[in-house]
């Protein structure tokens, strides 16, 4: 009898956790919005929403890439350094015009991604070490290229960071467009299914003839390109190249967004919309705490708590 009740409560807990993993992030974002509308003065203004969205856009872009990488059971710690490298490269090549400079930055990101991908896919190095080496080395490279903060006056690049279309900043539009693209890739393309298959069971994917290594390489290249794109957008908004501090801790923010969004770290599942919501949740949370005059230290401790709850809900359960 007591066994039965124990089993029932166990079952109940499992179901609550599963539900939390599936919808927790939406509920949390909704609750924060309601709280802010009720208690935060000047929250419901277009200017405020615009600021929040502009701030969160680079994080969203990097998080989308991170979600793909985590979906393959990998991790990419180099994203923040790639942002810094993109900032350095874009300002170095700005003399040729904005478009060639941006292309150069994206190519640099792709090269870093390809290096990490080759280490992971072809040399079988663990993703965490391979991208850790890149995190250290690429940040150094960016600092060697541009040792200190360098301002620029290229009007095209400045426009990319500050112009709006129908009242929505370009930066936000780019992030939204990339979200749609990544969601479509994951749900509707063979490539997307292959990524999830590799993350779910690499041995089985190999045995069923998937080109596992090229796919892994491609995922890390995508991650590098998206991180470089985020770096270019952030630089354009700053109107200065700052390789020393741009993208610091970005890997942590991105991993947090992905995990809070309900994507398990064990791979095999990618939640694109959840990831965007995860990034929004963390942004809203810190904005809320700041607006209510709670210090930075609180934000960090609350974030730590949220990460733990999210991972507890998404951790591998016995039923899987």
């Amino acid at each position: 009898m007591s066994d039965l009740t124990l089993n029932l409560s166990q079952l109940h807990r499992e179901r609550v956790l599963a539900w939390l993993q599936e919808y927790g992030v939406y509920v949390a974002v909704g609750a924060l919005l309601v709280f802010n509308v009720m208690f935060t003065p000047h929250f419901l203004s277009a200017a405020n929403f615009r600021t929040q969205l502009v701030q969160v856009s680079p994080i969203v872009i990097v998080s989308l890439a991170m979600a793909l990488v985590i979906g393959t059971q990998g991790i990419d710690l180099s994203v923040g350094s790639v942002m810094a490298l993109a900032a350095a490269v874009v300002v170095l090549y700005l003399g040729y015009g904005a478009v060639p400079a941006i292309v150069a930055a994206l190519v640099a990101g792709a090269l870093v991604g390809a290096t990490g991908g080759a280490l992971v896919a072809y040399l079988d190095i663990q993703p965490i070490v391979a991208t850790l080496a890149l995190l250290v080395g690429i940040r150094g490279l960016a600092n060697v290229l541009v040792p200190q903060l360098r301002e620029f006056r290229n009007p095209d690049l400045i426009a990319l960071g500050s112009d709006t279309f129908l009242g929505v900043p370009f930066v936000v539009l780019v992030a939204a467009a990339l979200t749609v693209v990544v969601a479509l890739v994951v749900r509707r393309t063979t490539f997307g299914r292959q990524i999830v298959a590799i993350g779910g069971n690499r041995a089985a994917s190999e045995l069923s003839g998937l080109p596992v290594r090229p796919i892994l390489l491609a995922v890390y290249v995508i991650s590098g390109v998206l991180a470089a794109g985020a770096g270019v957008l952030a630089t354009a908004r700053l109107q200065a190249s700052d390789p020393t501090s741009l993208g610091l801790f970005m890997e942590l923010s991105a991993i947090t967004a992905v995990v809070v969004g309900g994507t398990p770290l064990s791979g095999g599942r990618i939640r694109v919309l959840g990831t965007v919501m995860g990034a929004l949740l963390m942004q809203l949370l810190s904005a809320t705490l700041i607006k209510h005059d709670l210090p930075q230290s609180w934000t960090q401790m609350v974030q730590a708590g949220i990460i733990l709850v999210a991972v507890y809900a998404t951790r591998e359960r016995g039923t899987r």
């Binding site: 991790i75 280490l119 040399l123 079988d124 190095i125 663990q126 965490i128 070490v129 391979a130 850790l132 080496a133 890149l134 995190l135 250290v136 080395g137 690429i138 940040r139 150094g140 490279l141 600092n143 060697v144 040792p147 690499r202 041995a203 190999e206 596992v212 610091l248 942590l252 991993i255 947090t256 995990v259 770290l265 064990s266 210090p295 930075q296 230290s297 609180w298 934000t299 960090q300 401790m301 974030q303 730590a304 708590g305 990460i307 733990l308 991972v311 507890y312 951790r315 591998e316």
Partner: protein, 335 residues
């Protein structure tokens, strides 16, 4: 070949009379590669720069490496057990601020408070990892954020820097014997203790067992949960101790230290031959890895025209090379 297929390959019947010399060379290289490279780099530095092989330079390398080395001892245990601890950088700075905060009450308090708090955080992380099965990577990432938040809360958002005015506390970090400071001796002592603990005690063997194959360890009756928890407690304690000693050395609880320190520590441990997959490695290699990073930095300083950013490039490239070499060597062993 993936991990899974190599495991399959290695489970095919083993031919015992196959010459194992190459395997043994590979094993030795992997275990002691860092020591060999360290000797080579020091030799190169001695020949290339007149001002490199001086007692003063050696002293400064050893003294500045000692804090990294202390944290790396704990990290070696964690990584051998198959885990990772990203919180050490935050615990290092938290330990320093707590030590300076408690320093008016004397040296005992200045050590006890950081050790108690950092040990407790390590205990919490260890329990979460061992009992709930959450990934060490993410639990200690939360620990990184939480501990830094706690540090900021204590120091008025980093605005207050507590000073160490008690000379007895400052002596913990500054007192010298034969030209080396107190933290160096503490590091050497704890490194030796760590070696004995890892190689000669049941706890040490349990750490290897848990990291090598957790399921097998459970079946053999190894206390897996207790071993894992202890490893994270140790890591927290050592990071807190390193922070406290550093605060004593600087005579203040500086709040802007320790950012990215966990990555340096992991790099040193990996360069030292400890496998991130767990189950293999040792303290001696880790110490060689720490010294190697210190020597590379010193060499780059000797060149003079290169900035410290260049050191990061070298460290990153070096880490990648070491990991590739390790991977190839461990493949060669399995052939």
């Amino acid at each position: 070949m993936t991990d899974d297929t190599t495991t399959l390959a290695s489970s095919t019947p083993w031919v015992p009379d196959r010459p194992a010399r190459w395997e043994r060379v590979g094993y030795l290289l992997q275990q002691h590669g860092a020591v060999i490279v360290l000797v080579a780099v020091v030799g190169f530095g001695t020949i290339a720069f007149d001002s490199f092989a001086t007692a003063e330079n050696a002293r400064s390398i050893v003294v500045s490496s000692s804090f990294l080395a202390l944290i790396a001892i704990g990290m070696t245990f964690v990584i051998i057990s198959g885990g990772i601890d990203l919180s050490v950088g935050s615990l290092f700075v938290l330990g320093g601020v707590l030590a300076a905060y408690a320093s008016p009450a004397g040296p005992l308090a200045a050590l006890a408070l950081p050790l108690a708090v950092c040990g407790a955080i390590g205990l919490g992380q260890g329990l979460l990892i061992a009992r709930t099965g959450m990934a060490p990577f993410i639990v200690t990432l939360a620990g990184l954020l939480g501990a830094r938040g706690l540090m900021l809360a204590i120091s008025d958002e980093g605005a207050t820097t507590y000073l160490v005015r008690d000379p007895a506390v400052a002596a913990l970090g500054q007192a010298e014997l034969f030209g080396l400071t107190c933290p160096v001796y503490i590091t050497i002592g704890l490194a030796l203790l760590g070696m004995v603990l890892l190689q000669r005690t049941r706890f040490g063997q349990n750490v290897y067992a848990v990291g090598g194959n957790e399921e097998a360890a459970v079946l053999m009756g190894v206390p897996v949960v207790r071993t894992k928890v202890l490893v994270y407690v140790m890591s927290g304690l050592l990071a807190g101790l390193a922070g406290a000693l550093n605060a004593a050395r600087l005579s203040s609880g500086v709040t802007i230290l320790g950012i990215g320190l966990e990555l340096d520590v992991i790099a040193a441990v990996v360069i030292g031959g400890t496998l991130l997959t767990g189950g293999a490695g040792g303290i001696l290699g880790t110490m060689a890895g720490v010294l190697l990073l210190g020597v590379i930095q010193s060499l780059i300083n000797q060149v003079g025209t290169l900035t410290s950013a260049f050191q990061q490039v070298v460290s990153g490239a070096f880490l990648a090379l070491v990991v590739i070499a390790q991977r190839q060597l461990s493949k060669a062993q399995r052939l």
